[in-house]
Amino acid sequence: MTLDIAIQRRLADAEHPFELDIRFRTRSRRVVIFGPSGAGKSLTLRAIAGLMTPERGHIAVNDHVLFDTQRGVNLPPQRRKVGYLFQDYALFPHLTVAQNVAFGIRTGVFNPSSRAIPEQASRWLSAFELDTVARSYPSQISGGQKQRVALARALATEPDVLLLDEPFAALDPQLRMRMRKELAALQAKLDLQMLIITHDPADAEALGEQVLEIRDGRIHGDEVAEALAS
């Protein structure tokens, strides 16, 4: 299981020229990219998910090539088999918790009815202890529950890698500690490949098997990655 990334992109802004130049290769299953805001963390995550297109480079998860300018590969987000946990969770406010979790299981043109929830989604709802709020709307549930819904929704599509964008920033400090433990336990249980970006050192400490530091669009201190790759 490897994550192989080398991407470059210049962002056109005359006043604040910014060049993203991210290279790392890792076999670790819990990777944390740690750095201040504006360092290019989110851009990196968006590039892996296919929501932002780099100018040059390649991205591969295991042996699945998602993006490669030399080979002319640029898979759309739909075909990348990645899970994405957005910082604000991006739950669909017009759908119930159950419909949110089932969202990626049925990819048809219309939203399935809130009464016809697929078996697969019900299992994820139970696994995340969301049965009691299955028929609630995202605005009616707590912050911790929202994060579980977002996780269940992403995992229900069985992604190759789970990308987490500041997963605990939206939570209050006490809840943050608990959810870190929950996520670590979940990762161990499902043997998930995770890539977390964060500005919080506590996240890196609690969750990182390998921690990469990002500054000004570049990865620093990736000796571990180099060692693992060779």
């Binding site: 899970g83 957005f86 991006a90 669909f92 017009h94 990626g104 605005s139 992403a154």
Partner: protein, 225 residues
């Protein structure tokens, strides 16, 4: 109530429903396209599409006659297929649709631009095609704004006068809508008939607004937290 009231009222409702329905398709489609289009031409296109809102309706009627009339640019082509919209109720629909178009287009566009782009990204990453993202995320989240625009468009189409009179004429029972009938009654000195029509028009509009209030979807489901 007598035929002189019912016939124009029903015709007005029919025309306004058609105009709103057509705008729900074209206005919403154009609005979605414009909300996602990044180009320096966008402002110009936007201005052109807003013209029906600010131009005198008679100018719209004139353009319609020039374009779709028997000798018009497109009218000549339509004529060959045996279609001539001038002085027909369908002509009234065309005039009303055009005049009401900016109301629905602007409302829908604002609604689409208000949809959190993260939600659309999330749907893509979850495997939905662009079409599915539109029908399952963008459209339902914009539905409230679109509904508001559609009701305004319906009310505007219901009251359409100038462009309709010029393009569809004033044929009782065929193209004489409520507002045209009021004008005719006044012009013919039938003040009492006009008064009845005016009362009916006012009551109809209040009813539309009341229904609008009831139709508005539940806010709690759409609140983004």
């Amino acid at each position: 109530m007598n035929v002189a009231v019912w016939v124009p009222l029903l015709l007005s409702l029919k025309v306004a429903l058609w105009a709103t329905g057509l705008n729900l398709i074209f206005g919403v489609a154009v609005a979605f396209g414009l909300s996602r289009w990044r180009s320096s031409w966008r402002d110009l296109v936007d201005s052109l599409l807003t013209l029906p809102l600010v131009l005198p309706p008679t100018v719209i009627g004139y353009y319609l006659l020039v374009l779709l009339g028997r000798r018009g640019v497109f009218g000549a082509v339509l004529e060959r297929w045996g279609i001539n919209p001038v002085f027909t109720w369908q002509g009234a629909v065309i005039a009303s649709t055009l005049v009401a178009f900016p109301l629905i287009q602007k409302a829908a566009r604002a609604a689409f631009e208000n949809v959190d782009p993260h939600l659309e990204s999330a749907a893509r990453v979850l495997g939905l095609s662009e079409l599915a993202v539109f029908f399952r995320v963008s459209l339902p989240l914009a539905a409230r704004g679109i509904t508001a625009g559609a009701l305004l468009a319906f009310a505007r189409a219901l009251g359409e006068f100038g462009a309709t009179l010029m393009f569809a004429g004033n044929l009782p029972g065929r193209t004489q809508t409520l507002s045209v009938a009021i004008f005719s009654a006044m012009a013919a000195g039938k003040d009492e008939g006009a008064t009845v029509l005016v009362v009916v028009a006012s009551v109809t509009c209040v009813a539309v607004l009341l229904i609008a209030g009831r139709l508005a979807p539940d806010r709690s489901k759409l609140r983004i937290t």
